[in-house]
Amino acid sequence: MTIQLLLVAVAAIAASGLAALAFTQRPRLGQRLATTLFCAGAVAGLAAAVLALAAPEPPALALPWQVPGGAFTLRLDPLSAFFLLPVFLVPALGSIYGLGYYPQDALGARSVRLQLFYGLVTGAMALVVTAANAVLFLVAWEVMALAGFFLIQTDHEKREVRAAAFVYLAATHLGTLALIALFSILGSAAGSLEFARMQGLPATAPWAGWAFALLLLGFGLKAGIMPLHFWLPGAHASGPSHVSALMSGVLIKMGVYGILRASSFFDAPPASWGFVVLALGAVSGALGVAFALAQHDLKRLLAYCSVENVGIITMGVGLALLGRARGEPVLAALGLAGALLHVLNHAVFKSLLFFGAGSIQHATGTRALDQLGGLGKAMRATSLLFLVGAVAISGLPPLNGFASEWMISLASLQVLRMPAGDPMILAVLTAPALGLLGGLAAACFVKVHGIAFLGSPRSERVSHAHESPRTMLVPMAALAAICGAVGLGSPLLLPTLARAAQSWTHLPVDALAAPDGMAAHSTLRISLVAAGLLVLVALLVLWRRWAGKPARRSETWSCGYSAPTARMQYTGSSLSTSLVELFSFAVFSRLERLRPRGPFPRRAVLRTTVPETVLDLIILPAVNRCTGVAARLRALYRGYVRVQVLLVLATLVVLLALRFLIG
């Protein structure tokens, strides 16, 4: 029953774009129909996920399929069901947002194309997290990746969009290649491509290390773990904003799901795997936020911030792997629960922020942070909702980002019980690392919200900004409400997280599940303090209103200078300069400067650009070098039949020689 509900949901969502296609003559109706179909499917899908989370036995389905090695096997265990929550929630809200942001009656075929692939990618993601057969998984994975490519390419007339989409395509296919190799290894070891048969593979086998490396490469590319993140900033900045929200919020989590699913096949993975994943997460987190701080483009900044948050999730996964390696149930359960909760949380607040970025672009026509300013006055609701997202993503109480980061910190504290000299104890450094990330993320989002929404407008177009239509505000308000609800109500999510952790770790999860257990005890107190904070804020505001005298309006104090202009404000670049400089070992800002000269200076320029270190400084130069060498080689024989014959002959001689030499 549950699984049939899920299939109906997937079908409805994947086909929702067809409704838009059928009514091209009546674009408004078409888009509304498509959105309704999409949302109905999403509600069905969410219901299926909730049913599956409550079911005693995971619902499963197996249908015959005429593909060699393949079978249409679906399984909705708690881990899959948990991932279904963001998969259905965020895109559905995105489709509502699209009604105002990407209207079919104004944009025509472009919007129809987007809706087609938007449904397709969502349906494919739902299949990815529920597939229980490697072939089905890979097919769904590829559909998801290709539909994602077309979504990024929505504005394909722009050169940089095409470039970003191509880099995405190359990266995702490199990942798929690694996954095909991974499942070939796993499948031949298990003797079947069914996930159920792959359970309990030995992690000590000689091929296991290779499988782990392929797993990290294939799924790490999708998740955007540093240094495999190179495709991500361009791709996530290029699409329309609800596409960016879907990709940053949900699609990259498919990589996290893959890492979890594939690592669950192994019996007691070695501790070294956990340490590798933990270290990768820490590096992604720190460098991701450092790059985010250095960006001037709002959407690129948010994209880099996704790299940071994937790093946080990965750190949780690393702790969970360590816990499984050592058979430490509390460490494994808390690490995994923190990672999963952050998957959901990041999906919620990142899509909220991308929707906000879309609204800013909609209102001002620019994404350049240093052009913005003072938007909070014209866009009061957007400003408030964006602020909720900014507080949540900085991991600050009382919102949801804090709950998941706290859980990962708490997991890392468990290793303090180990005896001195045990290398495991190094994992406790996760807590300070998360502290550093939280501080940097807070700096980053003080910059984003402060520069975009506060102060006075820095350019002409910003002063004509207008508030977004209600279709764009309502999805944002829903997401902001979820941020608050998860932050205050985290104890209620514990049973769900415990079930997911149980299905992955196969260890007892009393610490999470027991109603008087440690997690319940602590999260309840967090909620109490968070509620106390809100009450205190309300009381102070009321007291000030009741006892304070009415406020007088005047100018901002600027040292007695009486004619300050908006251009004298601090900019986003100046705000983050000193932090970015601390990361100059990885973030190479380029400075272009034309100093004012002479007694009557005419022109002065100061411009910084931040190349993507891995893509722009390593991969592209290497690719260019290779194509250069190849072109030179080609020039050797192009047009000369004699040279070509000589080459064939030489190859033949070399091959024969090898044959005789080696035997």
């Binding site: 504290l413 690392a433 502290g435 501080g439 901002t556 404000q569 601090y570």
Partner: protein
């Protein structure tokens, strides 16, 4: 039990402004002046609360939210900190993460309020505040992890501030005394940075270009300014309380003796801050990260000492 908790809360709410009076008195004595009355901040707060407010035309509601959220966050953080070895009002595993998170929340809103004025000076202050805070955060966390390892594993709520600073702390001194000494030094550095004292920031400076915390709040006035000043005093007290308990962790049976030692330690902390302020100059801005990274390295040393 309830009586003790209310006493602790009363101390937390009432004592902090005195600490600033002590600091100012120490500085005055060093400069050969008589100085302000010890209770000056109480008078200031009382006066500010009854005054009117002037708000810049550039600002929005965020500007007025800054002081309120800042004060509420520090007040909530106070509920988590155990003082004088007594359990805090709220204690749970890993509560120090919430403690640091609440302080960060207050800072987040103070910095936003500063940016809301559209003034270059306040933007500068916000930039410096968030920069130095994100460097102070890892140092604070490593210090707390060291204490958690030393004595926080037991009690009702292991790895909570109440068990870390609770009755097990004197025993931890015997086990890992050298590590705790290093932690106390590192935390003192962090406390100076977090509370905007010399050598990181000079609360008495009169040049907007060189200030950090004070420049962020230039445009606040009336009750808003009172909230900010009171919040700053509370935060100073929180760090003083943490350091006082860490440095003077004696196993004393009587509650009153325990409390006396604790309060003496907090006052000594204020005197020390005043001494540093009288004897040192403010560091140049680009030196400050080195101080904070130094504190992190010191606390990492403490961790290594402990785990060896």
């Amino acid at each position: 039990m309830i009586l003790r908790t209310s006493l602790q809360l009363a101390i937390f709410l009432l004592l902090p402004p005195l600490l600033l009076g002590v600091i100012n008195r120490v500085k005055a004595i060093f400069a050969g002046r008589r100085g302000l009355p010890l209770l000056q901040l109480y008078f200031d707060l009382w006066k500010l609360l009854r005054k009117g407010t002037v708000i810049s035309r550039t600002t929005s509601w965020v500007f007025r939210a800054g002081p309120v959220v800042g004060l509420a966050a520090v007040l909530c953080a106070g509920l988590l900190l155990s003082t004088a070895g007594q359990p805090a009002v709220v204690a749970f595993q890993g509560d120090f993460v919430l403690f640091a998170g609440l302080l960060a929340l207050g800072r987040f809103f103070t910095a936003l309020a500063a940016l809301d004025t559209g003034s270059a000076f306040e933007g500068m202050g916000a930039a410096r505040e968030v920069t130095f805070a994100s460097l102070a955060e890892p140092a604070l966390f490593v210090c707390l992890v060291v204490i958690a390892r030393a004595g926080g594993g037991g009690g009702l709520d292991p790895f909570s501030l109440s068990s870390m600073l609770g009755p097990a702390l004197p025993g931890a001194w015997d086990q890992a005394g050298s590590a705790i000494v290093l932690v106390v030094i590192a935390l003192f550095g962090v406390a100076l940075a977090e509370n905007a004292r010399i050598p990181v920031d000079d609360p008495n400076t009169h040049l907007e270009l060189t200030m950090i915390h004070e420049v962020m709040v230039l445009d606040h006035s009336g009750p808003d300014l009172a909230f900010i000043e009171y919040g700053a005093a509370l935060k100073l007290f929180l760090f003083g309380a943490l350091l006082s308990r860490l440095a003077f962790a004696f196993a004393v049976p009587s509650f009153l003796a325990q409390e006396t030692i604790f309060l003496g330690g907090v006052l000594l902390f204020a005197v020390l801050v005043g001494l540093v302020e009288s004897l040192m100059a403010r560091l140049r801005m680009h030196r400050v990260p080195q101080l904070l990274v130094g504190a992190s390295v010191l606390s990492l040393f403490a961790l290594v000492l402990e785990l060896r």
